[in-house]
């Protein structure tokens, strides 16, 4: 009995100590105990000489009580500018037919060909419902739809979360399904067909194609201490159907000189199936007030792409209402097996793409975010980031050595946030 009393006394003193430390002053920040949460953001994304995008986002989350939540999000994505068409820079000017087949554009000598007709507006809607479905078990269902003039996507997802270990551990299992439709301007080009010279029309294989995407997630979240939380995820994904970029071409070149042959532009062709795996780890740690969030992802797929992503954010509390958050992201990937900067005339290829996003690629991003808690129910944020992408050509043949075959892509990211709780 005495032993039990002692144990209870010990436990009570530990609990009291914890409560006392718990009331140590924390900086003013949003503490959600409100019914509604409104999150608004506007993103400005601008690549040097290429794409510019404006992207407003509104996200609403309603607390219905008893751990039931409805989330609604809508995004409008407006893109303008030029995008690399896949052909290589050469010593003379090059003329291309636009995807619609209604006009042409000319790229000067020694310049990477960019298709200036690239513009698009995408509208996306996400809906999610979360509620407890059994003791320590939460279910989330999601629906998403998006529409562009040449692409549509419809998706459903379901996730189960199971808390155990007095909610120190959570297991997550989820499944997502997307049914997408591709309907490119000017129809679906035939893979490896030669791009005709305007006004001739390219051969097509219909006007629409489908793409199906499955994703399975298995996750484990672990509270490591009062100030540390760890998340580990495995994601399996499969994409099947039309995975080619209908607007991308490759340059057919002479195997010795590296110069384009006559009528050198052919449409790209990618495999119609892709299986991918991702392993993801995230660790949050709080110092006295500051928070360090770090994540790492390993990704691999059956296209030959292996990638590593490291992401670090350090939230530095400036006392009271302000914080600064430097951000660093580093990404590196190996090229897809079918990535070719140019195609050698006379060789046979099953699949080929000159899309630099499938090349050996390194992306580096540096950024900083400033946040200001206007009150405990509203917060303003602004972040500015600079992204750089460097890709390597798969092969440099003959005279191609005098060209910058895959130039860097630099982008500026500016985002404003305003969050309101009521």
């Amino acid at each position: 009995m005495q032993l039990n009393d002692k144990r209870i006394r010990n436990q009570l003193s530990v609990a009291t100590a914890s409560l006392l430390t718990a009331v140590a002053p924390v900086s003013q920040a949003l503490e959600s105990s409100s019914d509604w949460e409104v999150d608004t953001s506007v993103l400005y994304y601008s690549e040097t000489d290429r794409v510019t995008a404006w992207e407003p986002v509104i996200r609403l989350r309603k607390d219905f009580g008893n751990d039931r939540f409805l989330t609604f999000k809508t995004v409008i994505d407006s893109l303008t500018g030029s995008s690399a068409n896949g052909a290589i820079a050469t010593g003379s000017a090059q003329t291309f037919t636009t995807p619609s087949g209604n006009s042409t554009y000319t790229t000067p000598a020694n310049t990477t060909p960019l298709d200036p007709s690239f513009h698009d507006t995408r509208v996306a809607v996400n809906l999610g419902w979360e509620q407890p479905i059994a003791k320590d078990m939460t279910g989330i269902i999601g629906f998403n739809a998006s529409n562009e003039y040449d692409y549509q996507s419809l998706g459903l997802s379901g996730t189960l979360k199971w808390d155990f270990n007095q909610k120190n551990s959570t297991l997550t299992a989820g499944l997502a399904y997307n049914a997408d439709t591709v309907k490119p301007v000017g129809g679906l080009p035939v893979g490896f067909a030669t791009m005709p010279t305007y006004p001739a029309v390219k051969p097509t294989q219909g006007t629409t194609e489908d793409k199906t995407i499955y994703d399975l997630i298995l996750g484990w979240t672990q509270v490591l201490s009062r100030k540390d939380i760890l998340q580990l995820n495995y994601v399996y994904g499969n994409e099947s159907g039309y995975l080619t970029d209908p607007y991308k071409i490759l340059t057919l070149v002479d195997g010795t000189t590296g110069d384009p042959v006559a009528n050198p532009y052919v449409y790209e062709k990618r495999p119609d199936d892709r299986t991918r795996h991702a392993l993801y780890a995230q660790w949050n740690h709080q110092f006295t007030q500051d928070v360090l969030r770090m994540s790492y992802r390993y990704f691999t797929d059956d296209w030959g792409i292996d990638s590593h992503t490291v992401d670090m954010r350090y939230r530095y509390e400036l006392g009271g209402k302000h914080f600064l958050e430097p951000h660093f992201r580093y990404y590196t990937q190996t090229a897809a097996d079918f990535y070719h900067t140019s195609l050698i005339n006379g060789q046979i290829y099953d699949y080929a793409s000159a899309d630099y996003r499938l090349a050996d690629l390194v992306t580096t991003t540096f950024g900083i975010k400033y946040g200001y808690a206007i009150s405990d129910q509203s917060e303003f944020g602004i972040r500015l980031e600079q992204m750089n992408q460097q890709a390597d050509p798969s092969q440099v043949i003959g005279n191609q050595a005098s060209q910058d075959l895959v130039p860097d892509v630099d982008a500026t990211i500016l985002q404003f946030n305003y969050t309101l709780l009521f």
């Binding site: 959600s32 992207e55 996306a124 990638s307 996003r357 992204m387």
Partner: protein, 74 residues
């Protein structure tokens, strides 16, 4: 391969040992973890916008969660 197995066993042992010595955080000790800035995804809009950017500019996708829908950008 031998080195990799050795490394793996060291890492696994470390994880198991840490796991065993880990103290459960009680509900009344959740003050820090309950803060918004300590959530796994404290700014969902930032995350979604970043995922959209990098999904459009790189060949990898997914990891942190289930994707938020398709896009003709890739």
């Amino acid at each position: 391969m031998k080195i990799n197995l050795k490394l793996l066993s060291v890492v696994l042992t470390a994880v198991i040992l840490t796991g065993c010595s880990m103290q459960l955080v009680q509900p009344w000790e959740r003050d820090v973890l309950a803060q918004r800035k300590m959530q796994l995804d404290p700014y969902p809009n930032d995350t979604a916008l970043d995922e959209h950017i990098y999904f459009s500019k790189e060949a990898s996708r997914g990891g942190a969660g289930l994707g938020g829908g398709g896009c003709g950008c890739n």
